[in-house]
Amino acid sequence: MKQTLTIARRELASLFCSPIAYVVLGLFALGSSLIFLNTFAPDMPATLRGTFSGLIWLMIFLVPAISMRLVSEEYRNGTIETLMTTPITDTQVIIGKWLGAMGFLMALFVPLVFLAGVLEMTGSPDWGPIISGFVGLLLAGGLYLAIGTFASALTQNQIIAFLITVFVICLLTITLYFLPQAGWVWPNLRKALHYMNVNAQFETFNKGLLVMGNCLYFCSGIALFLFVAVKTLESRRWR
């Protein structure tokens, strides 16, 4: 546990040393503010729902930029060798790195707190949906980061890791968003596809509902991809 946190802390610190992190921070702050201003007007409901719905799409491209370097950089620098020859396990490495990236994700969400503050100053927002929306955004981001950690463990090339992550996330979001709308899809399959869609799962949070099933969806997704990431890192032992 201690070692996992050590890795997480180093990862977080080194994220703040890379220029990409600041680009992501800037773009996210800009994007969230723009979406917010779009829905921020007199006589409009004081909510962040529209902002959150927009951000879940924006995150498809921004979150992979955070996760792409997690393991790839260790491969490319050769530091993987010093890392894996200390008495720590592959699981500790992967979870530590994912936790570090989660820490960065929280920093990414700081502007949203300001936006909520603006709502509080100008109107009387309902805090329930805002908080549940936050939780949903964090879980979705966690899932994206887990996918990113896995992709990053596959290759020493950060660009490839980025593209694989975007691709898998697109499968879970855009593809599963439009596919169920096609007429030829078998109704039961449509239901299943809709269930697997990240946006549909997130929408429940955004409505202000904290449902066990939705939390389970994200948590199991995170666990699945982190597990695959551990196996990928381990694979060098039997390749």
Partner: protein
């Protein structure tokens, strides 16, 4: 301390380590010597638990590398070949990070960091960013990091590669200072390095140990094979050549004339000492001798010889 039994490593279709068997006693300094691509780094990577072996057995400090990898790894300090470090970290920060990964508590971390910084000459650099440091200083950090948790075994993969002569001397001195406190395995393709510091040298070529022994033993092995004698006498070239060729035990000679003197290179049968008969022959002919010496076999020659033999055997 380290036991390796019939270690084999295949990289896909390429055989990197071929049935390597050896044993290293506690406190010894072992030099792994071999041309590039001989399988040195692969062997060291297997010993540090970074790579798995294809077959065979290996144990480090009594822990089996396949079943007790974690315990084995905690007994090893490792400096990989290219000294990979995190450029964005400060020296001290990095050492703390390594200490935490090794499971050291706060107190012992501070103590050991002070100690290794002092030992490796990092005192002035503690607050510097690693990315801004020179190759030599990075190497020091790499060694400091390997020493940090005071491991019984140190594995250094080409610790002096890419350093300037002063830095090489520093690293060598440091390794010499560590003698007795750690079992040290170091790999290199530079002979001078092991010639000076190692207790035992293992020459590896194509994944196999082709020769093994102390530097002195290896040198004697070369000298024993066929000895080369160099004689310089004040004599006509042809006459001297003719006289020496007739001496019993002389296999072949080459000579060159030099301002009235003749330098003769005599290759003799290793079991027969030809110095006395040569001296007698010179005396008989009234030729003055300016020099008579055995050509000293260097490890360099031995190295080239054994690795070439190995190549020939394969071809």
């Amino acid at each position: 301390m380290i036991n390796v039994h019939e270690l084999v490593k295949w990289y896909g279709p390429t055989l990197a380590v071929d049935q390597l068997t050896f044993e290293i006693e506690p406190g010894q300094i072992i030099g792994f010597l071999g041309p590039n691509g001989a399988g040195k780094s692969t062997t060291l990577r297997i010993l540090t638990g970074f790579l798995p072996m294809t077959s065979g057995r290996a144990s480090v400090a009594g822990y089996d590398l396949t079943t007790q990898s974690q315990q084995a790894r905690s007994k090893i300090g490792y400096l990989p070949e290219s000294t990979p470090l995190y450029g964005e970290m400060r020296v001290e920060e990095y050492l703390h990070y390594r200490g935490k990964l090794q499971g050291m508590d706060r107190r012992s971390r501070f103590d050991r960091i002070n100690m290794v910084c002092d030992r490796c000459g990092l005192e002035q650099l503690r607050r510097r960013l690693i990315g801004q440091l020179s190759r030599g200083n990075r190497q020091r950090i790499g060694i400091a990091q390997a020493l940090l948790h005071n491991p019984p075994i140190l594995i250094l993969d080409e610790p002096t590669a890419g350093l300037d002569p002063t830095q090489i001397t520093h690293v060598r001195e440091l390794i010499a200072e560590l003698r007795g406190q750690h079992t040290i395995v170091l790999s290199t393709h530079i002979l001078a390095e092991v010639e000076k510091s190692a207790d035992r040298v293992m020459i590896i070529a194509r994944g196999k140990v082709v020769a093994e022994g102390s530097p002195d033993e290896l040198r004697r092995q070369v000298a024993a094979g066929s000895s080369v004698l160099i004689v310089e006498a004040k004599a006509a070239q042809e006459a001297a050549q003719k006289v020496i060729t007739e001496i019993h035990g002389v296999q072949s000679i080459t000579s060159k004339a030099d301002d009235g003197w003749t330098q003769i290179r005599v290759t003799a049968d290793g079991n027969i000492d030809v110095r006395e008969p040569i001296g007698a022959a010179m005396l008989q002919n009234g030729w003055a001798i300016r020099e008579m010496r055995h050509e000293i076999a260097t490890l360099e020659q031995f190295f080239i010889e054994v690795t070439a033999q190995q190549d020939q055997a394969v071809a």
